[in-house]
Symmetry: C2
Subunit: 333 residues, 2 copies
């Protein structure tokens, strides 16, 4: 029997997530059954989509269960195997518990080469957030030279890649982020043409008018709410919105309504498309080839925040929902 340290969902949040929604536990894991493997987690990805899973919303993934460990995209090492497809010492990636160890049936895991890239890159710039950015840009936003592309949460795990891909496609790229340091990184490192601080700018409409004088042709939407309303009002004819997330709504008991003047959708022939990257898993090889190539060529920068120790995951997650992290947020387990 293995001792496990884990974090379980103690109660469902109403409105803001609070620390008491989580409970830290130690437990004993049972011996493995045939077909099972025991994985020691190395890195855990924290992502905004976990917030809706804490509630009992009808969502695209089932809600987390009460009194059971939360789960998240993780990289880990097989420490014991009764499954012929995995050997002790294999490095694997997949959905693991917020825990030191997870017993797993091996389904949905992917073996990775630990020498190919830093382990945690598989959760960020080579992983799900980057795949999300690539899908939304390539298949929905389709930015091109002469156009203006907007990215909300410009330096987040998804946004930072989305913005760079739009820039590589030749568009003028404008974003917003939650502090000056992030905005500076966006412009100096990630190549955004402009990035405004949505905490200090009071009039989103005015700043968008200034930074996007020719209107907005595509919007990679991570935030929703008031920023989205102002972006929506400035979309050009045939504008595209890749609706990836709406972090501004996740904590609201009574989220802000959609933008006024929905007839704008007709007048300007807008396409607003929601997507979840797991629906498009068949495109993963194409993504890996393209984005892996950009990384090797040094054409894609990334920024991450690594939190040391699983015990700090709840606090880091609360910070994520308030935009306190900078870039991809990862827990070193």
């Amino acid at each position: 029997m293995t001792d496990v340290f884990q974090i379980v969902l103690a109660k469902r949040p109403v409105g803001d997530v609070t620390a008491d929604c989580f409970r830290k536990e130690t437990a004993k894991l049972p011996a493995l059954n045939d077909g099972e493997i025991l994985i020691a987690s190395r890195f855990l990805s924290l992502d905004p989509y976990m917030r809706p899973r804490m509630s009992e919303l009808r969502s695209y993934v089932p809600p987390f269960e009460l009194d059971k460990p939360l789960t998240g995209g993780s990289v880990g090492e097989v420490v014991e195997s009764r499954n012929p497809r995995y050997a002790k010492g294999d490095t694997v990636m997949g959905l693991l518990n917020w825990a030191s160890h997870t017993v797993h049936d091996g389904k949905g895991l992917r073996k990775i080469d630990p020498a190919a890239a830093p382990l945690q890159a598989n959760l960020g710039v080579l992983g799900m957030p980057s795949f999300t950015a690539w899908y939304g840009m390539k298949h929905i936003c389709k930015p091109k030279a002469g156009e203006t592309a907007f990215v909300s949460a410009a330096t987040g795990a998804v946004g930072q890649v989305a913005g760079q891909l739009a820039k590589l496609a030749g568009a003028t790229v404008v974003g917003c982020a939650g502090d000056e340091q992030k905005c500076q990184w966006a412009v100096r490192e990630a190549g955004y043409d402009a990035c405004f601080n949505h905490r200090t700018e009071r009039d989103y409409g005015a700043v968008l008018d200034k930074l996007c004088p020719k209107g907005i042709d595509s919007d990679f939407e991570n935030v929703g709410g008031k920023i989205f309303h102002e972006v929506f009002a400035r979309l050009n004819n045939f504008g595209r919105v890749a609706f990836c997330g709406a972090i501004s709504e996740y904590q609201d008991k009574d989220p802000i309504a959609g933008p006024p003047k929905m007839f704008t959708i007709v007048q300007r022939r807008l396409t607003i498309q929601g997507f979840i990257v797991s629906d498009h898993a068949a495109m993963l090889p194409e993504f890996v080839a393209e984005v892996g190539g950009l990384l090797k060529a040094g054409k894609l920068k990334s920024r991450e925040t690594i939190v040391d120790g699983l015990a700090k995951a709840p606090q880091a997650f609360l910070g994520l929902l308030k935009g306190e992290n900078f870039g991809k947020l990862i827990v070193k387990v």
Copy 2:
């Protein structure tokens, strides 16, 4: 010089259109220049999209000009020609003035065969409204067997065709309309599985839950506002909205906001696409072949209201915005 009776835009409406926004005039038309033709209008189409053109909105067509005749899709007869492409007696279709006669340069007109169908059919079931329904269904809603398709303004010029096309595609089709007689026609004649009266039903959510127990897979949206909110909340995963119009907003000084919980777009991977059929004119032959074939085969019913006399056009248009017409509204000039 020809005497012309015409209706001009006397003032721009704020909120509801009123009769004094229009002015009836008689005037003298100048002699034709080289290249011009004189057309006597026979039928004028009245359509909801004309309402936004009365305001100074940034829209997809320029606003009507003050003190000039309004224009609309029309069928007319060439009574004089100084353009080699048109001969006296030709029947033509295109954008003509709300007037007994229009001087025209011939551009954008289409010659039609007056023997092929009743003249006014070119403005309805063989014309722009039907082309609109066909494009939105075929290229955005894509209804199929096993799915539920919703059509707001179910018996309007566009909706009546949209609903029948969805039914022919095998979907369960539900609509709403503004009186009992229309709802009955929708079910008995146009083949809708159900149609509710949005003036007497108070709880749109409850009636949609009852009529669409498996949710809604596609929405052909003509109305917007509260009905759209309730439809949006019931869209299934991968649901499609063909946003064609939002008549509920046209008269509002302060239109209702978009639906709450925009994150739904992500959760259910919705696509909301606005469109204007004139962008897709290249598909007109395909539409004519398909829908013309259905008409010949007796598979498409249509309903129209013909108002006798151009002088009645303003009043008929006010009624159109209140849903008083039944089916395609046409003025016999």
